[in-house]
């Protein structure tokens, strides 16, 4: 088990390096630079001297391979460079925003689990019932709906029409500001969880060991508790992990919509002004988050299901 855990953690390193390389290469071939976007703010072309000075200040006049080497050496020491716009270390800029993103992701996931899992479970126990049909229609809709549109509709009804909740902003961390963005972000994982749970329960109910349990006279409640739940949980935990890992990526649009000051909003705003170190840094954080959660899920998975370890 320990060997598996260590191996799984080490496997992340090449992927992280490859992503760092890919992100770096992509942003080294940008035609315009931060300097030119800073200078050409609609007041005519950029002044060549000024451009050179800004480029020198940020070390952009060095050749690409030197910059990449510096970037990777920095990365190993958790140094992501200096933001062009904020003139602060990127790690500080991200650090100031990441908690808002984490809070939003966790709230959305809690919402999705609390509703999605029981819904899928109940639907599967009565396949073909009205509740089952409604759940499935809801699940398919949730997966096809543009989240930001749902966010706009929620904003319209609950903030503008009913006035129950604030329409956007962070509100210094008050709970009522969290509700609408979290529901919006949570709908897709909710739909997926309902679907996965339902499919998982249906599949496992047909397994031999469930039939055996029933035939040896075990009560329905006990079969569900002892055999069904444990097996379905493996599937549900995997889905939760995958969804939670990719949530920071999905949150970008939602954070923009609700002006939620997380790293998604930071990414979009930094792309607009070509603050490349921040863009690279946020993308790396989102990817590392995804990999860490995935690795964690794999390890839990191996712990729950002893069959995995053999492979």
């Amino acid at each position: 088990m320990l060997g598996f855990t260590i191996r799984r953690i080490l496997q992340m390193i090449p992927t992280i390096l490859a992503v760092a390389l890919l992100v770096f290469v992509i942003f080294s071939i940008i035609p315009g630079s931060f300097a030119s976007s800073l200078m050409s703010d609609g007041r005519g072309g950029a002044d060549a001297d000024m451009l050179a000075r800004i480029n020198a200040e940020f070390g952009l006049d060095k050749p690409v391979h030197v910059r990449f080497f510096e970037y990777i050496t920095g990365l190993i020491q958790f140094d992501l460079g200096t933001s062009f716009k904020f003139r602060e270390p990127v790690t500080d800029v991200i650090n100031a925003r990441i908690w808002a993103s984490l809070k939003l992701s966790i709230a959305a996931m809690v919402f999705a689990i609390a509703i999605g899992v029981p819904l899928g479970f109940i639907a599967a126990l009565r396949p073909g019932s009205i509740l089952d049909t409604i759940t499935m229609v809801f699940a398919v809709s949730g997966l096809s709906m543009p989240q930001f549109w749902l966010g706009l509709l929620l904003m319209y009804f609950f903030a503008l029409q009913l006035g129950w909740l604030p329409s956007f902003g962070y509100g210094g961390g008050q709970l009522k500001y969290l509700i609408l963005p979290a529901i919006t972000l949570g709908v897709t994982p909710l739909a997926l969880l309902a679907r996965t749970t339902r499919a998982g329960v249906l599949e496992i109910m047909n397994e031999d060991f469930i039939r055996t349990a029933h035939s040896k006279g075990m009560s329905n409640a006990r079969v569900i508790r002892w055999h069904l739940l444990r097996n379905v949980m493996v599937l549900v935990v995997t889905t939760i992990g995958l969804q939670f890992g990719s949530m920071m990526g999905q949150a970008v649009v939602i954070e923009k919509l609700f002006a939620w000051p997380g790293i998604g909003l930071l990414l979009v705003d930094s792309v607009a002004v070509r603050d490349i170190p921040v863009v690279q840094g946020t993308i790396l954080v989102i990817v590392v988050w995804f990999l860490v959660i995935n690795t964690f899920v794999d390890i839990i998975y191996a712990a729950i299901d002893p069959r995995i370890k053999q492979t």
Binding site: F27, V140, P146, F148, W149, L153, L202, V253, V279, I283
Partner: protein, 274 residues
């Protein structure tokens, strides 16, 4: 429900409605989506003349939604074709040739799977700048990893089949074997993943345009229409409702069609799920 593939038929119906709307837009409306602005008609609610109401410049939202279907479908279909070609070429060749090429493709696929495709597309859009061509490139290069995985695993299981070995014995070239012996045998699953991929691309286009990185106003992309609508939501909610509904219907259509195709091509799955 058994025997009647609801997903296939309903998904096909929704998709057909959107395709017809896109193809025959000029016949279904006499107005122009960009130039027929009239401030006298600004922000009118839906009525007999303007079925979906008008926006802040007095343009007919129904017209703009219809023409928006052209952009969405173009981006969805073309970018998915690029993805499928990349995924198939990499997946089949990796499994067929094996060795360092397989390792390389596998590594690349894993890296692609680790970067959320919307984030990757966003990064590429940041470099290329807004526009239709950039969208096709950004979305066409970032969503091929599942196709690649499926193509690779299909090839691995087909490679040992008698007819592939027969083709090798007959002296067929590698490329010919991949194209004529391997490719036709994975059409089903690839068709399913590609149909679902079109839906995902339509959603991604809408999100990027909403962020101001995709199709820019005044052109009628559903995503960028929603950016404008956000400012007017208190006075003209219909400007939000209809473009979003169009995205929803389109994506739902492709998702159901994909699910339906999977059930149709693999009846075993269907009986098991019910």
């Amino acid at each position: 429900m058994r025997g009647f593939n609801f997903n296939l038929w309903f998904g096909g119906f929704l998709t057909l409605v959107v395709v017809i709307g896109a193809l025959f837009a000029p016949l279904l409306t006499s107005l122009d989506p960009v130039y027929d602005a009239n401030l006298m008609n600004a922000e009118l609610p839906p009525d007999g003349e303007f079925w979906f109401g008008t926006d802040e410049q007095g343009r007919d939202i129904f017209t703009r939604v219809l023409y928006g279907a052209r952009i969405s479908l173009t981006v969805g279909v073309v970018s998915q074709i690029i993805n499928s070609v990349i995924g198939l070429a990499l997946g089949i060749s990796a499994a067929y040739w094996g060795g360092w090429w397989d390792d390389l493709v596998n590594g690349l696929t894993n890296v692609m799977l680790a970067i959320p495709s919307l984030i990757f597309a966003l990064a590429i859009m940041a470099i290329l700048g807004p526009g239709l061509l950039s969208l096709l490139i950004a979305l066409g290069l970032t969503n091929w990893s599942w196709t690649c995985r499926i193509a690779r695993s299909s090839t691995l299981s087909l490679k040992g089949q008698g007819y592939v070995q027969a083709a090798q014995t007959l002296g067929y070239g590698d490329i010919r074997i991949m194209a004529t012996q391997l490719l036709p045998n994975m059409v089903g699953p690839i068709l399913v993943i590609s149909t679902l991929g079109i839906g995902a691309a339509v959603l991604a286009e809408a999100a990027l345009s909403f962020l101001g990185l995709g199709i820019r106003p005044p052109f009628p992309s559903w995503g960028s229409m929603l950016t404008n609508a956000r400012e007017l939501i208190a006075i003209a909610p219909w400007a939000t409702i209809f473009p979003g509904l169009a995205i929803f219907v389109t994506v739902l259509g492709f998702n159901l069609l994909g699910d339906g195709l999977r059930d149709y091509l693999d009846p075993h799955m269907r009986t098991r799920e019910q």
